[in-house]
Symmetry: C2
Subunit: 377 residues, 2 copies
């Protein structure tokens, strides 16, 4: 295999030049390069920035973009289902930038050494269709999901919320814990998972994290015990089945429920009575009706889109007694925000590799010349 | 910018190992690499294989896959339109393989040094969601489009067809000309384009091509002149508008019309009377109703999906007098075929680069560990 050689000096062309402006061609550098960020690039960018700082920046970026809701050409994601899992595409665009995410969900993957969820994304120029960035999003999706949970909780939970139940202690749990502790002042987290090793791993990680030095952790023996007395309840279990993690009898006045794990047809976490007892907020209603906890409710079950609360059009919580529920499935706009954030971060840090996704054509109207038998043949 | 170093010996792991089987990790090699084929890789693969051989192989692959029509999970492509163009995603999957293509259409691009149409695609493992291949498809799309035209014409045109009118002599024209000459025995092509320089470029390319040594070319001064007496009429103009290249008075008994240029809302080439005068065949009806020449016809206008003819369920042409029309818009299955072909070709030729789209995780259930502050920090 040959390596793509991209001399450092050329990176500036790549990072700075508008994609559609024919850049000065350098040896080994495509005329219209696409920036590639692999998993290791993203790991180093985020470690240098700091995980908590990244969570905070991504949450702010998501909040900004949700305030521009009407600027976006939106659609429910397109899913291809198979017996073992699902593969989805999540496109979205405003007047200047188009992004999409490719993401799968295959619960059996971990037994094969692969993550359950793998993702990558593309950011492109709406004016030309030129793909500007291809980036891993497996790691970034974990960050944007936790950031979105906090953006919603800041608008819906009681401001004095301090304790959170975290049910499901898998791959997403550390991100939820750190985001709620560092961005929202949660100082006690009550942990439960059917797999004690998952909880053990989560506790070990949080104990080692300097960002969680002041975070109290309570390991619980049941979901009910974890929920009892919690201001916020986060459910983020992984099984692709209709499970019932929360029942109505576990609810307490004033709770905010952050339901993250129910995110595709046949994968839910809440009893219908929990939905009926709460004010339900969603990201993008047409998608949530298909994928969210909402899939079990009648088509006319009332919900509010989160952006309306952030935008000040609708009140999130009316009083201290309301039970609020964020039925989170993950929406393309959150990946749009994450992609524009990581793209800017990579360019500022001159990080990444050049891909030749677009051929170098002497005449852009002439594709044949580059494939015709070479003159010397 | 750093380069992705992938020592030759590791390529075999990449090319041969099933994606989900943790391969032996080598320095600089991701644990779960995704094969990347840039434009130059594809140029060299196709030049080594030969353009006509590639056209023939891709046509055979498309034919094979159309015969398996019911094996595929199909959907109309998802488009994001803007004043300057469109960006589309085209996903499809069978029980084993998932593919999608990203493709744009921006007629003003050529003035900015970019192709009007740029594309790339991904091939993934349905069992795990692992992305196995990321490949340029700008060049490959030109090949699969011409190959698809021939697959349809072989089923719909009169077997003794020898002359073809080629209206629109832009980037797709050489591929159509060579495919119909070498794969279908067309020995005379009558050329017309509103831009004489486009026709001049096409003639020069075909005169230089050893594959077209026996092909007679007639440059015409109007579409009507080009069409007169032609057995097959191919329209492949580029303007994104509702143009009328063919009118009913230009039709002759027994003609096969290969309408390639009308492929998105507001972009058509034929007068409605031409549709009414012909037996109309399409790739995937739900998509063609939105994007094809069909967009001007009533919702109940009768059409036949091409696969039914290839499969022998429906007769294509009843007699020598029928006028047949392939209303081609480009369907995801053609890109599925092209992607599985180029993937096999690249692996057989040990061609490509490794991308780390999937992070190397010691524990696939633990994303946090790779982003946590490094121990030495």
């Amino acid at each position: 295999m040959r390596s793509t050689i991209c001399p450092q000096p050329n990176f500036l062309d790549l990072a700075a030049a508008p994609s559609s402006a024919p850049a000065k061609k350098a040896i080994g550098m495509p005329l219209h390069p696409t920036l590639f960020l692999g998993a290791q690039d993203v790991v180093e960018l985020i470690r240098n920035k700091g995980l908590v700082t990244t969570l905070r920046d991504v949450a702010r970026t998501i909040h900004e973009d949700f305030l521009r809701w009407d600027d976006f050409d939106k659609a429910a994601r397109i899913a291809n289902h198979s017996p073992l899992g699902v593969i989805e595409l999540m496109p979205i665009a405003d007047a200047h930038t188009y992004t999409f995410k490719y993401v799968n969900g295959h619960p059996a993957n971990t037994a094969r050494g692969l993550p359950t969820v793998m993702a990558f994304g593309v950011l492109a120029d709406v004016a030309t269709g030129m793909p500007l960035l291809v980036s891993e999003l497996t790691l970034i999706t974990a960050i944007r999901t936790a950031a979105t949970s906090v953006v919603a909780a800041q608008a819906l939970a009681r401001p004095e919320s301090r304790s959170m139940a975290l049910i499901g202690n898998g791959a997403q749990a550390e991100f939820q814990a750190l985001a709620f502790h560092c961005l929202m002042g949660i100082d006690e987290i009550r942990l439960y998972d059917t797999d004690p090793f998952a909880t053990e791993k989560l506790v070990a990680h949080l104990r080692q994290s300097p960002d969680a030095a002041n975070l109290r952790l309570k390991v619980c023996t049941s979901a009910a015990q974890a929920v009892q007395g919690a201001d916020i309840v986060t459910t983020v279990t992984a099984d692709k089945r209709n499970a019932v993690i929360l029942t109505a009898d576990m609810l307490e006045p004033g709770m905010h429920l952050n339901a993250v794990g129910g995110d595709c047809p046949g994968k839910t976490e809440l009893a219908p009575e929990v939905m009926q007892a709460a004010w339900v907020f969603v990201e993008y209603e047409p998608q949530s009706r298909i994928e969210g906890e909402l899939q079990h409710m009648p088509a006319d079950f009332a919900v509010t889109e989160l952006w309306q609360v952030l935008h000040g059009d609708v009140v999130g919580r009316n009083n201290e007694e309301d039970i609020t529920l964020f039925d989170s499935v993950g929406f393309a706009l959150e990946d749009f925000s994450a992609l524009r954030y990581i793209y800017a971060l990579a360019r500022a840090n001159k990080r990444g590799h050049a891909l030749q996704l677009v051929p170098d054509l002497a005449d852009p109207k002439d594709l044949y010349a580059s494939l015709a038998p070479a003159p010397d043949l």
